[in-house]
């Protein structure tokens, strides 16, 4: 690949990755909070088994 192609390639990768990560972050932050509440409920109820 030529240098110009590499530059375009890295630019697309970088911007695409930032966009995907932004969407993932919003979802993880919101849904993760709900998961924490469930985890404490499970631990409080002794759901974990020492298998």
């Amino acid at each position: 690949m030529s240098t110009e192609t590499w530059i375009t390639f890295w630019q697309v990768v970088l911007y695409g990755a930032i966009a995907a990560f932004a969407v993932l972050s919003v979802w993880v932050i919101i849904a993760g909070f709900g998961d924490i509440k469930r985890m404490f409920a499970d631990l409080g109820g002794g759901a974990g088994s020492d298998d």
Binding site: M1, T3, W6, I7, W10, Q11, V13, L14, A17, I18, A20, F21, A22, L24, S25, W27, V28, I29, I30, A31, G32, F33, G34, D35, I36, R38, M39, F40, D42, L43, G44, G46, A47, G48, S49, D50, D51
Partner: protein, 538 residues
């Protein structure tokens, strides 16, 4: 010669010190971490709660905690160093890591098999599949490679704090002791629950912080200007990872493929998240979605390292051999790894700098707590308990895990003070990790997917993995391997040592060969296999 941007031409005008506001933000964050450790301790009622948080993690929390652990300050620092010294070509590391994690998520390669086995550690699977001897051997090499691997974490994290706050370099040891004491406190107290909570907080702060930093860097420097400077200063090779002059080349790229695969499917701190997940479906989703974070954790810091180089170039810094630099108006030589913290210190306004430092400290602590917990639990559960049945009760394993968390912490402090790295931090991590994972990937892969894999083959493969230690510069020097002309193919950076990636790839091939040969030449006796399985399920 590319002219620097006018707005960034005067380094002195940009200099901002770490203010009281920044310090207050960091202190509040650190106190909150201590509170989390105390809170989590109230929910720990048994070994499963302490080591895998009761196997109660949902998909989103699994992704947050896996990203939190694997996107540590050490990751940010070493990838920024790679971008600083290698330019855009270094971005291939992130791209390959993302692709490898996506493959694991879609196929369930290794991680689903381990979750199905309902084990808490990888060596525990060795006993289920092979025997107790293999478990103890695997646990020993895992602990050895893992503990050596995290040897530089404390030093590099403290270098960040010293660099970003502008503290005198002599304060490095004091910073190391303070950070270590904090991490030890809440890891010993709260186990995996505390790890998960701090990981979640870190994910929130660091994901926003990283994206904001990249946007800030591009808006201040301009993407075209960054490209222009890299091209003028480092040449076309700094965009092409396959180019011989890029400092990478085909062998290095292949080695990154191996590292990308093992860092998500074999590396215990990542696999522990799979083992702590609610079910196999969560494991698959967790790895599939985490492919984005596994790519980002390398890609964004790497780009920030490139931006730091351009920023320092614009400011008139002098660059020396190996990536070290001297600030304008100064005489002190700074290691290349300090490029990022200096960039942050000079670019960010008061308050934002404090927030970002808190985020980076969060990254530092969430990686440390996971690693300390992981290696300590392997020693307690996979070495001590099988060898000393009197120590195998939950209470004794918890006690030993906490003791080894403290001992490993003290070792990390010692190593951070005495070890002088002779290679990039990322390459050091690759080699030390390879001591464990070159054998482990073969044993796990064959154990899960090849019926004829035998315990003799597994033990031989684990021993073969140990040979990766030759990749460390000081070990090569001790063995008299430095000096001969290896040629540019085997010694790409021309430092007289065999490149670590060739040793890693060679070790992997060696482990595969001895696993296959050992299994075919010394197959398991069907009767003894049955008795080992019975013993493992007790």
């Amino acid at each position: 010669m590319v002219p620097p941007l006018p707005a960034l031409a005067s380094f002195a005008e940009l200099t901002s010190s770490f203010s009281n506001v920044d310090t207050a933000i960091v202190v509040i964050y650190l106190l909150a971490s201590v509170a989390i450790g105390l809170l989590a301790n109230r929910f720990i009622t048994g070994l499963t709660g302490y080591l895998v948080a009761g196997r109660s993690l949902g998909t989103a929390l699994s992704i947050a905690t896996m990203t939190g652990s694997e996107l540590g300050l050490i990751t940010v620092m070493y990838q920024a160093q790679k971008g600083f010294t290698g330019g855009f070509a270094a971005l291939h590391i992130g791209l390959i890591a993302g692709a490898a994690t996506l493959f694991v998520g879609l196929s369930g390669f290794i991680v689903v098999g381990l979750r199905r086995a309902r084990v808490m550690t990888i060596p525990e699977y060795y006993e289920q599949r092979f025997d107790k001897h293999t478990r103890v051997l695997g646990g020993t090499f895992l602990a050895l490679g893992g503990i050596l691997n995290m040897g530089l974490f404390l030093r590099v994290g403290s270098q960040f704090v010293v660099g970003v706050t502008g503290l005198d370099g002599t304060m490095l040891t004091v910073v190391m002791v303070a950070l270590l004491a904090l991490v030890l406190f809440y890891t010993v107290m709260g186990g995996m629950v505390s790890v998960v909570l701090t990981d979640y907080v870190q994910f929130c702060v660091l994901s926003i912080g990283l994206i904001a930093m990249v946007v800030l860097a591009i808006s201040n420097l301009g993407f075209d200007h960054i490209v222009e400077v890299m091209r003028a200063e480092r040449g076309d090779a700094s965009f092409d990872p396959l180019h011989a002059g890029s400092g990478f080349g085909p062998g290095y790229v292949a080695w990154m493929g191996v590292l990308g695969l093992v860092s998500c499917a074999i590396w215990p701190t990542a696999v522990t998240r799979a083992l702590a997940s609610r079910d196999e479906g969560v494991v698959r989703k967790q790895f599939t979605f985490s492919s984005i974070s596994f790519m980002i954790r390398f890609l964004l810091p790497c780009f920030l390292g490139i931006a730091a180089f351009v920023f320092l170039f614009d400011a008139g810094a002098t660059f020396l051999e190996g990536g070290a630099f001297v600030l304008p108006g100064g005489t002190a030589e700074n290691e290349s790894i300090l490029g990022l913290p200096v960039f942050f210190r000079e670019l960010l306004p008061i308050g934002v700098l404090g927030l970002l430092t808190a985020a980076m400290l969060a990254a530092f602590m969430s990686t440390h707590d996971s690693y300390l917990l992981c290696w300590a639990s392997v020693i307690a559960r996979d070495i001590i308990a099988p060898l000393k049945p009197s120590q195998s009760s939950d209470d004794r394993q918890l006690w030993w895990t906490r003791v080894f968390i403290v001992l490993i912490g003290l070792y990390v402090l010692y190593w951070g003070i005495v070890y002088e790295p002779s290679q990039d931090v990322w390459d050091y991590l690759g080699v030390t990790g390879a001591i464990y994972f070159t054998g482990a990937i073969v044993v796990l892969g064959c154990g899960l997917y090849w019926k004829r894999a035998s315990r003799m083959g597994a033990r031989a493969a684990l021993w073969a993995g140990l040979s990766a230690i030759v990749g460390l510069g000081p070990v090569q020097e001790a063995l008299g391997m430095t000096g001969p002309n290896w040629g540019t193919f085997l010694d790409g950076d021309g430092n007289g040592n065999l490149d670590a990636h060739w040793i890693g790839l060679g070790t992997l091939a060696f482990a595969i060969i001895v696993m296959i040969a050992g299994s075919l030449l010394f197959p398991d006796d069907p009767d003894s296999t049955l008795s080992a399985e019975t013993e493992a399920t007790r």
